[in-house]
């Protein structure tokens, strides 16, 4: 089995060493990837930014409890005027200032990162699972199954994403009993559902295309000749050979999903106001042109949103370049 798997990528293993013309040394695909990736300083920087963001998000409760001594929903009404205008901007007391309820914008921004990452990671993960499964089936089985799945992909991709997302979210949150028998109610679950529902076709389309190509390769023929069944060939032979593409797709889907979550929350149909989210915070700042009086309510969550999506996008581009240097952007 393992021999079969290693037959395919062997072409890539033998490469000249830099600075040592004529000398050839075998390297694994991952070594090659790392060599290429670390040369891309922008991608490395983006990766570090993503890591820093994840670390901050994970540490948010610790920072709240031991450094700032305030939770994301702790009110500080002394820091607001009689009509709720925040009076405390960025300062030693509140690094990013406070919002209309006197809540600490710094801690809420970090908790917003937790929300964004949680929703986008889980949503993207669900998209991957569905997309990989259906893409493999379509590409490998072909025929009517392929036609059916491909047309379904076309249909889902042709739907206006934001409008559909708003419609579903409103339908499931406008009644307190939710929808689908109460499975989908107000909360992060509905946003994750929407991301998964509309994200899988992007994955499925790429996986299908790759499967169509890979299923004709020699290692697949070898596996079939060895007597392995379709399920084994799809998931143990073909799938591992498209990991690189899947990683790239996932990395590019994550920022897209972060933006979708932020857009829905901004429009008031995503994450409930009680849960800190960047879209919700930006919406709060935009409400009544509050940013004219408290710019920090808009700038900090907005800045984190931009940095995060930019970092994931640059990281995704870097991964794509490193994993598949022949691809064209």
């Amino acid at each position: 089995m393992s021999q079969v798997q290693q037959t395919e990528p062997a072409i890539e293993v033998l490469v000249p060493l830099e600075g040592e013309p004529g000398r050839i040394e075998g390297r694994s695909p991952w070594q090659l990837f790392w060599t290429r990736f670390r040369r891309d300083k922008i991608a490395v920087g983006a990766g570090l930014a993503v890591l820093a963001l994840i670390t901050l998000a994970l540490l948010a409760p610790v920072l709240a409890a031991h450094i700032v001594h305030r939770g994301p929903n702790d009110l500080g009404q002394n820091y607001t005027s009689d009509i709720g205008v925040p009076l405390l901007g960025p300062s030693k007391i509140a690094w990013f200032g406070v919002d209309t309820l006197g809540r600490d914008v710094f801690i809420r921004t970090l908790y917003g990162a937790r929300t964004s990452l949680k929703v986008s990671f889980i949503g993207t993960g669900a998209s991957l699972i569905i997309g990989i499964f259906l893409g493999l089936i379509a590409g490998f089985v072909g025929g009517k199954v392929d036609t059916f799945i491909s047309r379904t992909i076309d249909i889902v991709l042709s739907l206006p994403l934001l409008l559909m997302a708003i419609a579903i979210s409103v339908a499931c949150t406008s009644v307190i009993t939710g929808c689908l028998g109460g499975v989908l109610k107000q909360g992060t679950g509905i946003v994750i559902f929407i991301i998964a529902l509309f994200g899988w076709p992007y994955v499925a389309r790429i996986v299908r295309g790759q499967t169509l190509s890979l299923r004709e390769r020699e290692f697949v023929e070898a596996a079939r000749a060895t007597g392995y069944g379709n399920f084994h060939i799809m998931f143990r032979e073909i799938l591992p050979n498209m990991v690189a593409s899947i990683i790239v797709v996932a990395t590019l889907l994550i920022p897209q999903n972060i933006l979708l979550e932020a857009a829905l929350s901004f429009l008031g149909v995503g994450i409930p106001a009680e849960i800190p989210s960047w879209g919700g915070m930006i919406s709060q700042a935009a409400n009544g042109q509050l940013y004219r009086l408290a710019w920090w309510m808009l700038i900090f969550p907005g800045m984190f949103l931009v940095i995060t999506t930019l970092s994931f996008n640059l990281l995704g581009d870097g991964l794509r370049d490193a994993l598949d240097p022949r691809s064209n952007r």
Binding site: I83, T173, I176, Q186, G268, N287, G288, Q289, L290
Partner: protein, 636 residues
């Protein structure tokens, strides 16, 4: 009907207004009392231009069923004159007392208080193309529409069961009413089932205002007549003069009104100011244009594109209006005769225990909520059900004085220790599933999410299991109205008077008649009967309440007693009832006796005189003057 915007504002007692004036005066640039601000001279002419986000009608602007306070103001001030009206000014100028309008004078009331005889003015005419005198049969027809079951008069209970022969179950709008007699074109009398001290208030409501008999049978469904409201007032909807009323089928919707675009009203050429003592009708026209962006509305006001905007301005604009000397007098905070409150369901654990409801009253941070709602100008912190502008001295009813406004968590926990839902005596709700995931229903439109947060955070020391669920306002009301859902606690609703008497505030919200299975407005279920519980599918919860607490607290009998009292005893009677509500039933945590915000552009060429209509709870369009020379254009 659903929102506080849909409640009629009541009249105000001078003391209450005085208190409000003092409180509001602390706000800086704003004015109260309904007439301060502009320094120009009121003059005829020009067009009063307003933009608003939506109309929000409850019954398509059909006077028979419409239950939105704003609509009542438009009807009563501008379009339809009835037997009685108000002066369309603030309370301190007498705007909360019914005065004759079509009636030539006060009615003759029989000694037993059961018969009211009216004589009508003989020179008030319908606008074109009808061009005839309004007569008593037009008034009778309005009552026949109320009595028509299909018209669904949303406040028909003020007449059905009150006027002899009216039960709101007639098969059409052509059924006689034995208790209403039209002797000739200028004489009409009403026979009542029992003495009803506030009957004249009820006769000032829009559903009772005349409808031309030529309309009979033309609008058989609820709300249908809203696109063809016919005027005998100082203004008419643009295009009325072109209406063909020769048959029902020829009557087309008026061109000056589109619910999604706006409404333009122009002068009714048949209106004779000598017959009308309550309407100055300064402007040549009134334009009400729909603009869904509140930010844009207020930008247009500041830029001078419009003259008036109502409601809470965006926070940045509110700050400008309150603090920038350039805008001195632009913001008006007038008594709204309304109460904002948190409702608690008597049948929904843990709120089926009065100590729990008491604890909520002690814990709620009312001042914090008000801050998010617009600050002190938004009104006074409420301590009881009815605002002092409706029930004088209601500030004396304050059984939860330990909560001085900001919430008293310790007092709340001490109270909660007496409840059966505190298993370990620590003052916290901890009795298993009952105390976990207690749904707190709030609104999701700004500024309510922030207000919900303040409420939740202040209640959480006692109710750590509160779970906030937010919906749009309409869904919130619809949800609360369904008895079977048993929403335990909610900050969605507010309540304003229907008319300027305590009964006009309390009736629907606390009488058991305000409970219907899918359209209840008595959300707390005060006075619910076993039959109602059975019909609505909550008999098990009802029985559990009775078993644990005894009979459900009810104010039905007291309400009936109070409404029959002589005028000078009515307030004292209702004060007793409100005290009972706040100490024994405890269905609410009242948190604000609210004002109304109106913003007027006072630059030259805009508003030169501002008046507030206390009864309608909105700007008095008919007594506000503008200094522009614009002619009305159709915004619909």
């Amino acid at each position: 009907m659903k929102s506080v915007r849909g409640r009629r504002r009541i009249a105000a007692a001078a003391l209450g207004v005085t208190i409000a004036l003092v409180a509001a005066a602390c706000g800086g640039n704003s004015t109260t009392g309904g007439s301060a601000g502009p320094s120009g001279t009121a003059q005829k002419g020009g067009t009063l231009r307003e933009e608003l986000p939506e109309f929000g009608w409850t019954n398509n602007f059909d006077p028979t069923g419409e239950y939105l306070g704003y609509a009542w103001g438009v009807f009563d001030q501008l379009l339809i004159r009835g037997l009685m009206t108000y002066k369309h000014v603030s309370a301190d100028e007498g705007g909360d007392t019914p005065v004759p309008d079509l009636a030539a004078g006060d009615p003759t009331v029989s000694s037993d208080g059961l018969t009211y005889d009216f004589t009508l003015k003989d020179n008030v005419k319908w606008g074109p193309p009808l061009d005839r005198v309004v007569d008593a049969n037009d008034i009778l027809y309005a009552f026949q529409r109320i009595n028509d079951a299909k018209e669904i008069a949303q406040y028909g209970n003020y007449y059905c069961g009150v006027i002899v022969g009216m039960d709101c179950k007639a098969k059409d709008d052509n059924q006689p009413i034995s208790g209403i007699t039209v002797t000739d074109a200028t004489h009409i009398s009403f026979k009542l089932e029992q003495p009803t001290g506030d009957f004249l208030y009820r006769l000032s409501m829009p559903a009772t205002k005349p409808v031309p008999v030529e309309y009979r049978g033309c609008f058989p469904k609820a709300g249908d007549m809203g696109v063809d409201v016919f005027s005998d007032g100082p203004y008419m909807i643009m295009g009325q003069d072109k209406l063909d009323i020769s048959s029902c089928s020829s009557i087309k919707p008026l061109e000056g009104y589109d619910v999604d675009k706006g409404m333009t009203m122009v002068r009714n050429p048949n209106w004779d100011p000598s017959t009308d003592e309550t309407r100055s009708a300064y402007a040549d026209g009134v334009q009400l244009k729909i603009n869904t962006s509140v930010d844009n509305i207020f930008n247009n006001l500041l830029n001078g594109d419009i003259d008036v905007a109502e409601g809470t301005p965006p926070i940045s604009v509110l700050q400008q209006l309150e603090t920038d000397p350039k805008y001195t007098g632009w913001l008006h905070a007038d008594q709204g005769d309304r109460t904002w409150y948190v409702t608690m369901n008597l049948l929904a654990p843990p709120f089926d225990d009065v100590h729990v409801r008491n604890a909520a009253n002690l814990a709620l941070d009312k001042i914090g909520i008000r801050k998010q709602y617009g600050g002190e100008l938004r009104g006074d912190i409420a301590t009881s059900v009815e605002p002092p502008t409706v029930l004088p001295n209601s500030t004396d009813i304050n059984p939860f004085a330990a909560n001085t406004g900001s919430g008293n968590a310790q007092a709340a926990m001490d109270e909660f220790k007496q409840s059966r839902y505190d298993t370990n005596g620590n003052g916290v709700c901890d009795d298993g599933p009952v105390c976990e995931n207690i749904e707190f229903l709030g609104r999701n439109t700004d500024p309510w999410p922030a207000m919900d947060q303040v409420a939740i955070q202040s209640l959480k020391p006692v109710f750590p299991g509160l779970k906030l669920v937010e919906t749009d306002t309409s869904t919130g009301y619809t949800t609360l109205q369904q008895v079977k859902k048993l929403i335990p606690i909610s900050m969605v609703p507010g309540w304003g008077k229907d008319y300027a008497s305590p009964y006009g505030f309390d009736f629907f919200i606390f009488d058991s008649q305000g409970i219907s299975c899918t359209a209840a407005v008595n959300y707390s279920l005060v006075g619910m009967t076993a039959d109602q519980a059975n019909e609505c599918g909550v008999k098990a919860q009802y029985d559990a309440y009775v078993q644990n607490n005894g009979p459900i607290p009810s104010v039905d009998d007291k309400m009936n007693e109070c409404v029959q009292k002589p005028t000078d005893q009515v307030d004292a009677c209702f004060a007793e009832m409100d005290t009972y509500l706040m100490t024994t039933a405890v269905p609410w945590v009242p948190w604000l006796w609210a004002t109304n915000f109106t913003s007027t552009n006072l630059d030259p060429g805009h508003v030169t005189q501002y008046k507030f209509d206390q009864n309608a709870g909105i700007i008095s369009y008919v007594n506000t003057a503008v200094g522009n020379t614009e002619t009305p254009v159709n915004v619909a």
